[in-house]
């Protein structure tokens, strides 16, 4: 029996737009986060350690590849469910959501969408259960917003490829059993391939000293003449479109996820403001605190409606990359602002690990940068309006 006090805001009765099954999905992940994430996450974030024991639990609850068909170990749920799962995971911590995002959207999705039947059967069930961890290598030290200019490349050696290059800012890097790596072939065409841990010449050093996503593993992938068998190349995709489709799926999850972080900040600040007394009355009585809370609720409500509509479009196969981009940008900015504002409601208490807000705020500084920066997403909308890509 849960004794959590968390109450998710739903000012516009958005709940009525979800099916009963969606609500069971959300309640399940919420209960799991209360049981397995909330009690431990501050300690792990403090120590900059990833709670690796949660990987198997995430697999058991079904947070990895929920929209992948059952025959490959997924749950066969819709994208609205995936969004709600991400929302609830990120209420716990953006690092935990990032882990599940990468595993689902950047590893399982490309194997399912672009892989051979053998690749699907070999990897997807183990990734779904958490027996295997995956990571995704696109960003490079010299190529962030411009991944098409990547330097990582392969040489065709007849029955195998030889992979050279390096990837950076890779979630799960040092704990991953496989990496989905994007590299150019000798014709300059981007190809995706599954690279396994332990292959000669493949190393994955961890990146230390982060002030954000501290309960998540980040690292590099270094390929020094790694022999990649040709059967490990994803056969059904070529070009930048492949990684971009993966990022679409991940960005969709982020647009939902950050609402969870924002709601957690709002909930913590609302309760604190009603309990904390100054000048003989709760600080929630003061106009400037009410302003922060009212603006937070307004922005959360708008984000909830935006993602519900986005989920409906995605389930109908109609959500565009530009729509997903706008939702990711809007919602991450919303969540980061709410974290900053609600932190002030808690005064000095807000900077401690007794409350989740400062941790969410630091996490969101990464989320606003990864999977397309805040600025580049704005230019994607600009391109949509004008037909002129200003980011090039």
């Amino acid at each position: 029996m849960s004794d959590t006090k968390y109450k998710a805001p739903d000012h516009f009765q958005v709940d009525e737009l979800f099916s009963e099954e969606h609500k069971i999905v959300r309640a399940s992940i919420r209960a799991w986060v209360d049981r397995s994430v909330k009690p431990i996450i501050e300690d792990y974030a403090n120590r900059a350690a990833f709670p690796v024991h949660l990987v198997k639990e995430l697999g058991a609850i079904g947070a990895f590849g929920p929209y992948i068909p059952e025959e490959y170990g997924g749950a066969g749920l819709d994208h609205m469910s995936y969004g709600l799962i991400m929302q609830e995971l990120e209420r716990g911590d953006s690092g935990i959501r990032s882990m599940a995002s990468v595993q689902s959207s950047l590893v399982m999705y490309p194997i399912y969408a672009f892989g051979s039947e053998e690749q699907r059967k070999k990897y997807l069930p183990k990734l779904a259960s958490g027996e295997m961890i995956g990571c995704f290598g696109l960003t490079e030290p010299n190529h962030g917003s411009d991944p098409g200019a990547m330097e990582t490349h392969v040489e065709d050696k007849g029955n195998h490829y030889l992979l050279h290059g390096a990837k950076m800012w890779i979630t799960n890097a040092s704990i991953a059993d496989i990496a989905i790596v994007w590299a150019k072939d000798e014709q300059g065409v981007i190809r995706g391939m599954i690279v396994e841990k332990g292959w000669k010449g493949f190393t994955a050093p961890e990146t230390h000293g982060k002030w954000s996503l501290r309960a998540s593993v980040t690292g590099e992938l270094v390929f020094d003449d790694v022999i990649v068998p040709k059967e490990n190349v994803l056969p059904n995709i070529q070009g930048l479109k492949g990684p971009m489709m993966c990022l679409n799926s991940a960005r969709y999850g982020i647009a939902w996820g950050v609402i969870g972080a924002a709601m957690d900040c709002y909930d913590a600040a609302l309760r604190y403001s009603l309990e904390r007394s100054q000048f003989g009355k709760p600080i929630a009585s003061f106009q400037l605190q009410q302003k922060k809370l009212a603006e937070a609720l307004t922005e959360i409500t708008k984000a909830q409606l935006l993602t519900w509509r986005l989920g409906t479009l995605r389930d109908a196969g109609k959500a565009t990359a530009a729509q997903i981009s706008m939702a990711k940008r809007n919602n991450v900015f919303m969540a980061l602002n709410i974290a900053r504002e609600t932190r002030q409601i808690l005064g000095a208490m807000g900077i401690t690990g007794d409350y989740p807000i400062m941790r969410h705020m630091m996490n969101l500084e990464s989320v606003i940068t990864y999977e397309g920066t805040h600025d580049v997403h704005l230019l994607i909308t600009g391109n949509e309006i004008t037909g002129i890509p200003a980011f090039k």
């Binding site: 959590t4 099954e21 069971i24 049981r35 609850i61 079904g62 059952e70």
Partner: protein
Amino acid sequence: MKILVLIGNVPDTTTKVKFNADKTAFDANGVQWIINPWDELALTRALELKETADSCIESIVVANVGRVETESTLRKALAVGADEAIRVDADPKDAFYVASQLAQVAIGFDLIFAGIEASDYNGAAVGGMLAELLAIQSVSAVSGIQLENGSLKINREIDGGSQTLAMNLPLLAIVQKGIAKEPRIPAMRGIMMARSKKLTVATPIEVEPLTSILSFELPAPKASCKLVAEDQAKELIRLLHEEAKVL
């Protein structure tokens, strides 16, 4: 062997309770509904019994009395592992009315679990009433249940200690906390599989409830807490005399 678990559909424990204008009915607007926590633990124990190596349990059925909107609570029970569900299509008017409706569908079960109370009205009456209506034995305040070679061993908390009983089937066990450690959380695959599990809707019988609600009252709001500094003992005594009036 077949097990029936009674499932109450109750407001989430974080619900802010409100009533309608004339205070005769609970205002369900915007409320999240959950499985009654005691019933959820009973279901968890039933699932554990079914999963034991020498299990002789063929199926676990869950049942409630409620309108169509309560089906998501039954679906959740199916998602954690119940095999099928029965919903008696009626508003649960009082304990006798609910027990009477359940008595029509609780036929042919060897073991029935009922939570000792429900977290909404705390009536603590349905389990005992149902056993009487079915004319089967019941045991209350059950905090442990083991099934070995088809015979039941029951643990009960009693004043100052505990009691262990051997019981025959059929039996209605009214369970309290301790029957299982913690409720199971439905996994995504379970939620998907629950879609195709059987949910039977039963027509209610004509029965008059024994009680009717005249009105509800919310408890008086809690007075705010006053903190007195540690060196202000005199002020504390004055407050206890003059404001709290407990001295």
